[in-house]
């Protein structure tokens, strides 16, 4: 059997393990494959499990170990941090990464990491990156395992195949529609502020009003607010230029979070817009916006136009 992926390319494998033995065997095989390919290998896990894994896999100049808590803080920031590192580093990247996403109690947080796994394929698929995501069936809820099966194109298969295509894989754009993706609806409460923008000359005033209301009604830092305003500006600009004015902006401000919805009656936007690198002309605004906020969801407005929901904390 031949390897499912050439030395240069992208792979994103899932390994569900029932015990530490399977984890160690899978990790060792992956690390060996990466070293054979001349890659740089990163092994990350929780603080308490790293010593076990490190001892089992061993030391090597091309192998680096790290803690999840340092790398995996927010899903989207982690995703784009990887993208930036891959885009700005030596080409081809020859990067091999193995570990697991954080185990979190909260359903919304679990869904955000499920979306992360889904979007790895979209945002990092063009790079020479090989990832092995390991999930412990003893500690991970079944819903998380189901999401993992749907978001990984291949399953780790051990030598000599290394990986096989996964029958459970769901295309990213379809996974986002699935309940496991947990994409939030717009808040049910009335917005704190609503605005309508009909022309580019109205962008500045929109930004200033948004910033003022965000400062007044939330406890977010100046940086977080400034980044949200920049992101919303890109979305409104998109709506004016590529969508159809008037563009409506709604803001919900609570002390700990800002949610903003930008809608226009245009043709609609591909939900995958703004993940790939380099971003195509026309996607740059959304690509920038995604990196400035905690999360951003592209959907359809009730009347058929575009509705983009942005969350900032």
């Amino acid at each position: 059997m031949t390897d499912q992926v050439a030395e240069c390319g992208f792979s994103h494998d899932l390994l569900v393990h029932d015990d530490d033995g399977q984890l160690i065997a899978g990790t060792r095989a992956f690390v060996a494959e990466g070293l054979r390919a001349g890659g740089h290998v990163l092994v990350h896990t929780t603080r308490d499990r790293l010593p076990m894994l490190r001892e089992a896999v061993g030391e090597h100049p091309q192998v680096e170990y790290a803690y999840d808590e340092d790398l995996y803080v927010d899903p989207m920031r982690t995703l784009f941090a990887y993208q930036r590192g891959l885009a700005q580093g030596p080409q081809p990247a020859r990067m091999w990464v193995t570990g697991t996403v954080p185990l979190v109690a909260d359903a919304a947080a679990r869904a955000s990491w499920a979306r992360y796994e889904c979007l790895v394929n979209e945002a990092l698929g063009a790079f020479d990156l090989h990832a092995l995501c390991t999930y412990d069936s003893r500690t991970v809820p079944e819903s998380t395992l189901a999401a993992a099966r749907a978001t990984h194109p291949t399953r780790a298969a051990g030598t000599p195949a290394m990986r096989t295509p996964s029958a459970d894989f769901v295309e990213p754009v379809d996974f986002l529609d699935h309940p496991l993706a947990g994409i939030p609806d717009r808040p049910a409460a009335p917005p704190t502020l609503t605005m309508e923008v009909t022309h580019r000359d109205g962008l500045a005033r929109t930004r200033h009003l948004l910033a003022a209301e965000a400062r007044r009604a939330s406890a977010l830092s100046g940086t977080a607010i400034a980044d949200l305003v920049t992101a919303v500006n890109e979305l409104v600009t998109n709506g004016l230029v590529h969508g159809r004015p008037p563009v409506r902006v709604a803001l919900w401000a609570v002390p700990a979070a800002l949610t903003c919805e930008v809608t226009d009656a245009g043709a609609g936007l591909d939900p995958m817009t703004g993940f790939r690198h380099p971003p195509a002309a026309g996607s740059r605004g959304l690509w920038m916006a995604r990196q400035l906020v905690e999360d951003l969801f592209v959907g359809k407005a009730p009347d058929g136009g575009t509705a983009v929901l942005v969350v900032q904390r």
């Binding site: 962008l203 500045a204 740059r284 920038m288």
Partner: protein, 241 residues
Amino acid sequence: MRRGLDVHAQIYYTQPPLPDSDERSLVRLLDDVPGADAALQRGQIEVLTAQDRSAYHLAGSGAAIDAALQAGYSSVRWSGEFETALSVMSPEEHDDLEQVTDTLCRASALDVLCQYRAGRSTSVLRHLTDVHRDGVRDTLFHATPFTGGMALAGEVDASNSGLLHALLAASTPRTAPTTFRLDLRDLGFLDVGGARAVLDATAPYRAAGGTLQLQALQPLVERVCRVFGVNRASGVHMEGS
């Protein structure tokens, strides 16, 4: 106008023949400026109707400046729209007037704001930047050239990134291909289109060996530039990177 009242200047405004009730007349434009009405009454603000060229010889003249200073004003401020001038003189005559006025502004207590409709070509903007040595502005931002560079103040977004592009394209080729400094200390906002404009407009200059130096970026602008990769483009040096 507000600034002129603040500094106690003699203010002239050239407009086409219009009744006061017309929304384009200065009287109407100054509806919401406190003190404007009184200033008009006492002659501190004077409307010059452009029925012929004499309106243009009065305001921007040494005699007018002397008279204003004698009367206790600090300086003369003068504004009007380009289109108004074209109703009484040719573009070439207007250009001569601009050159003379620019020189007079350098040498004496005269401040002039020439208003042009947006949408000019790069070559026109290049010429306008040459003639207006104190810079070019629109509602949202102000570009002030200096030797070897330009300072940007205000905000750049989709309403004016085209103007930024034209200004940078117009300004960079004339500097010897060493370093063109962009002073951004007063730039409070730059969107992706603006970052794109900075790179695209300076691409020929950088390809010819020039270096674009971005200085004193505010934190938000710096974040946008870093994420967009402005600092990693060839021929760009961003302070702090």
